[in-house]
Structure formats: C-alpha cells, structure tokens
Symmetry: C2
DNA sequence: GTCTATATACAGATAGAC
DNA sequence: GTCTATCTGTATATAGAC
C-alpha cells in the first residue's frame, strides 16, 4: 500500500524508516533512540535534533502512516475495478508484513495505549476511522446494506489474524481467517 | 473465565496479579519491577526472590493464564448446554476486559514476540492452540463441517475487535465484529 | 522472605563546540 | 546538522544483613 518509492534518504527519513520498522516489529516501548542511532550510524543527540522527544517521533510515525495508507487506498481504487479485488489487495498488503515480522503500526500503538500520549491515540483513531470508512465504501459498492458492520468485521479479523500469522510466520492464516468476511 | 476467587494473597500471588494486569494494560515492556513493588508495597529485590528475572515472571504469567482459561473453558462446558451460548460466554468474558483497559495477555505477549524469550512464545502458542481447539469443538457440536476454519475466524475477530473496543472503551464493538462468525 | 546497599547498564534528554 | 560530554532517572540484578 502507498508508495514503495522512498526516494529521499536524508537522516530524518532514515530515522522514521528505522523507527517505523522497530515499532512494527518490537513495539513502541521495545526500542530506544540508541537502537535507531546505532543502526543508522549516528548519535542519539542527532535524533533529538530531528525529533525533540520520543513522543514527537511517535506522532510523526502515525502521521506518515496515515498519509501513506491514504495514498495506498487511492492507488488501489485507481488500479483495481472490482471492490472485492480491492479488499484482496489490502489483505495482500498486510500479508506482506508477516515475512518481516511486522504488525500494523497503528495496531501496535493502540495496544500500547496507556504508555503513549493522547495525541498519538487521537491520530491512531483517525487512521482506523479512515481505514474503516474506506472498507465500508467498498462493501457499499458491492451492494451490501450492512457495509459499516462488514467493515468493522473485516478490520477486526485483519488485525487479529495478522497477530496469529506473524506469531508463526504463516501469511496464509490471514486468508483463512478472512474467508468469512470476504464471501459474506 | 476461570476462577474469580483469588483466595491466596501471599506475595507471590500479589506479584502475579499486578504483573498480569500491567501486562494486559501496558504491555510486557511497559512496566518494571519497581512499578510492581511500589504498588504492592515491597522492594524490587523481593520480587527477584520469587522470580529470578523478568523472563521467569513472563513464563509464570502465561502458564497461569493457560491453566486459568483451561478451567474457564471447562466451567463453561459444564454450566452451559448450547455451544452457541458457550461462544457468547467467551465473548462476554473478553468484553469484561474492556472496562479495565485490558487486552488478552497472550495476545499482548504475541505482539511483543521479538522482545520476549522463545519459551514464552512457545507457551503463548500452546495457549492459542488450546483456545482454537476448544472453539472448533463447539463449532463441531453445532454441526459445522468447517469447524477449524470458523474457530480461527472467531479467534481472529475476537483479538482484533478487542483491540478496537479497548481503544475507545466500547465493549459492544466486540459483539458487532463477531456477529458474522456467530451466525455463520 | 524481606530488607539495605550496591552494581552495571541504559533510558531519554540537553548544552554547547564544531 | 552532527558531534562530545554530561545529566538525571530508572532498569534489571546481586550480595549479604536481619
């Protein structure tokens, strides 16, 4: 989903890229500025220059994901005609997380709810509202009257099955878990 | 699910109780021995006496949850006749987590996959296998031929919807998300 | 079984030189 | 924009007294 073309490779972007991956793989409380700095080959004070504190970094991460996935949804709609196939494209995108042992960034943040700032949680909610609305739009285009309910079921099954798929490195678990909401 | 009757109140049990709640609310990387000690009113060295290191604590937590939920499943089968109602009992149990801002303990551990020991992950897998098998058993009792697939769908939707229900303190989200797998 | 005292390591963060 | 140096706080953990 979104652009795979990370053109820029300035420090700020590198920091975001590494922090994003670490948040998805280890959780937001599972890595430090030193972890990022060491991987990039800079000092922690340089990270503080770009992101005054870790909370700023979290906000930047979620904001970037909101934008990135928003573009991703647009791209899917432009390139794929059938709503059903569009949903499958989303599934395939998340299946791609499994091999890298990534979880959904906003899902991870949502789970760390009580340890991050309210601003981050507010943004996480925006991310999921966007996601849910887009899914409902697809179900509506499929002629479903209960499109909102189906969108919630899809999203829940997606996040939950991603948890299990990642646990044992079995991407196909996602397909199996979502079969019910795909042929409803 | 399981026994609500925590009879013993010795230090070891108190530690487990607090650590369990903190793991479910803040994540396993979201609290320290000092957090536990302060809440109970003891010193961190006393925790180390009962659990040599934090990994031992994690293992004890997951083992206790496996036992507790195993009993819970037995109790549900003994007290409820209809498989459909049994599934609803499980849903209601997890809905109870929401008001306390708890997530599934093993789900949380599964998400922190790369920051906990292999032994913990092994136990988390056992927990979910037990859960899945019990669910499949209920679906089979309902006359479903695809009981294994339904069990996976149920479990995925449960974990995923719990994430969203907890995010905004809306227990009913779980019911809405699971409607599809409940009337399949 | 719980404490005090202590050790080592690392966390997030800032001041100021270059 | 990145560095060195430093600060304060906290993490996990151990030794040994009581």
């Amino acid at each position: 989903m979104g652009q795979d073309n990370k053109i820029t490779s300035d420090t700020k972007t590198k920091i975001l890229d590494v922090a994003e991956r670490m948040t998805q793989t280890r959780g937001y409380n599972g890595f430090s500025y030193l972890d990022i700095a060491d991987e990039i080959g800079i000092k922690t004070s340089s990270i503080h220059y770009h992101f005054k504190n870790k909370d700023d970094l979290a906000i930047a991460l979620v904001n970037r994901t909101i934008d990135d996935h928003s573009q991703g949804f647009d791209n899917i709609e432009k390139s794929i005609e059938l709503p059903q196939k569009r949903l499958q494209a989303v599934i395939d995108y998340f299946k791609g997380y499994v091999k890298e042992q990534r979880f959904c960034l906003c899902g991870m943040m949502a789970l760390e709810l009580l340890t991050v700032s309210p601003k981050v949680i507010e943004l996480v909610n925006i991310y999921f509202k966007n996601f849910e609305n887009w899914l409902a739009k697809q179900y509506k285009a499929m002629g479903k009257t209960n499109s909102k309910a189906l969108a919630l079921s899809f999203l829940s099954a997606l996040e939950g099955s991603l948890l299990f798929a990642r646990l044992n490195n079995e991407p196909e678990v996602i397909d199996r878990a979502l079969k019910v909401v795909m042929k409803t």
